[in-house]
Symmetry: C2
């Protein structure tokens, strides 16, 4: 059975995301200690793919993921998933709120439920754990009274039960994961796809405006942008761009070719179905038909058959 890497341990948001990313095909999930190690395992061929956080992770570091994606052999995303960040509060069966003296979790998870804790478990002392799953394991072992955990973890610990569910100080926070593998034919276009690239450009006035104009002139909808300094290349900047469309689309291919001419480096990070399946709106002037018609017209002109 093919193996897929993720940031462990089991029972975390990253396991939940990786399961969602691999729904429908048989794969064994393998936990790794850190995202760079999980990506190294994909590059080495030890696993076929890895599920990695790329936006607002609770336990992993997103900058580390982004830097690791572009350092080393190319990797491409083939699927994405977006999961809400809400926590379960788990206790040993029969424990009441009044009996909770200690509550454990990853410090970032504790930070995201601080308001809820003050209101609902005001007497409980927060204790750090290496992960949300490690917190549940410690409660299972009797070390703490309650754990702030990912919803998936209760499946691993039948002796625990939910004291509360859907806990989060901030409503509607989400975290986004990609399933990445070694380059190969991209997934078929679905009409609701996203394309990700990392582009390195000179750190000069207007260089990013020009790159984004290459997208907007072709009617391409940008969905995310983030700049990151490059460690060993003074005077250049790397931008992570996500936009609607598939590399097989004429307007996307045309834009990528333009980026290739304009940037000192463009790394294609994949075209994959959007998690929310929202169809890409395409202007008539940027449609497949418009591109085909304009190419045919140009060919006629060049052949001297039209003017």
């Amino acid at each position: 059975m093919p193996q897929i890497a993720y940031l462990g341990p089991p029972g975390t948001f990253t396991e939940q995301a990786s399961r969602a990313l691999t729904t429908g095909f048989d794969a064994e999930l393998v936990a790794y200690d850190a995202v760079p190690q999980a990506l190294a395992a994909v590059r080495a061929g030890d696993v076929v793919a890895a599920g990695v956080p790329v936006e607002n992770s609770v336990e992993g570091s997103v900058p580390v993921t982004l830097d690791s994606l572009v350092s080393g052999d190319p990797l491409v995303a083939v699927a994405e998933t977006i999961i809400p960040i809400t926590f379960d509060v788990l206790v040993r069966q029969g424990t009441t709120a009044a009996e909770v003296g200690t509550v454990a979790s990853h410090p970032h998870a504790i930070a995201q439920v601080r308001g809820w804790l003050a209101e609902n478990l005001p007497g409980a002392r927060a204790e750090p754990a290496a992960s949300t799953a490690a917190a549940a394991a410690a409660v299972d072992a009797g070390e703490f009274d309650a754990a702030i955990s990912a919803p998936i973890v209760v499946e691993h610990y039948p002796s625990l039960e939910r004291l509360a569910t859907g806990v989060a100080d901030v409503r509607d926070a989400i975290t986004r994961f990609l399933l990445v593998r070694r380059p190969g034919p991209p997934p078929e276009p679905t009409g609701a796809d996203r394309t990700s690239v990392a582009a390195v450009i000179a750190h000069e006035v207007g260089s990013l405006t020009d790159v984004l104009a290459e997208l907007s002139l072709r009617g391409i909808n940008l969905t995310r942008i983030e700049s990151r300094p490059i460690r060993d290349r003074i005077g250049e900047y790397r931008f992570y761009l996500d936009f609607d469309g598939h590399v097989a689309d004429a307007r996307i291919g045309d834009a990528l070719a333009a980026l290739r001419r304009r940037c000192s480096e463009v790394r294609f990070l994949g075209s994959y179905p959007k998690a929310d399946h929202s169809p890409s709106a395409v202007r008539p002037s940027a449609s497949e038909q418009a591109f085909r018609a304009s190419e045919q017209w140009l060919a006629e002109i060049r052949a001297g058959r039209l003017a």
Copy 2:
């Protein structure tokens, strides 16, 4: 003495950054449990300012900082500092590497020294702590053998000593902090300043290109950009932009006014001296003199004295 809030506990990178941000004026640093609470204290007038992470934090969450900056009453940055992310490995005096069986830290710090640990303390078990400083306190109390900590923490624990210093798997990683306060006259221009804004624009093809063109047409050098979805406003996106220059500069003021016309919301997040003091390069066509001359010329035209 004025009080300044930061993300505690004492002895973390955030204390180190907040000290750097307040060098030269008498202020008492006050630790808060979370960045939103620290910013709330500034808004309420309980403290005069807060030091908050805005890029690549080890212990705090940068998305939480950004979201908290734009939610609630306005706040502006008046200073920035950039500090290298390298760790000290602290032990009780006299402990040798061979005697280290456990090493504690914030899980994000452990993730950033995993390679170093495997090479230098291969037998040591990693243990989670609520912060890098809490790890040092636990070593001081005899609970663990070593702590992965911010360089500043050794000042708080005279009984600890450095087993290693400058430890980091990734070279040249940095973290960036801003000192924010309630709105007031900005710091004087120094010729090496940065301006930060958060702009909300319609999520439409080309809207960001147009915003960035307002900057690049005026010769303004963008130093950072990050998009963030807005929770309760479908169809709009918020962008965090940092660029060279001071709100008192003609080209910056002109660009901000253009953004104000173009965006559904522009929040000025401050003009402040850059931590690296690198002077802003200004094109002749975007200089103060050029703006003054063009305004005088236009005034003459409008008055009918020139054509």
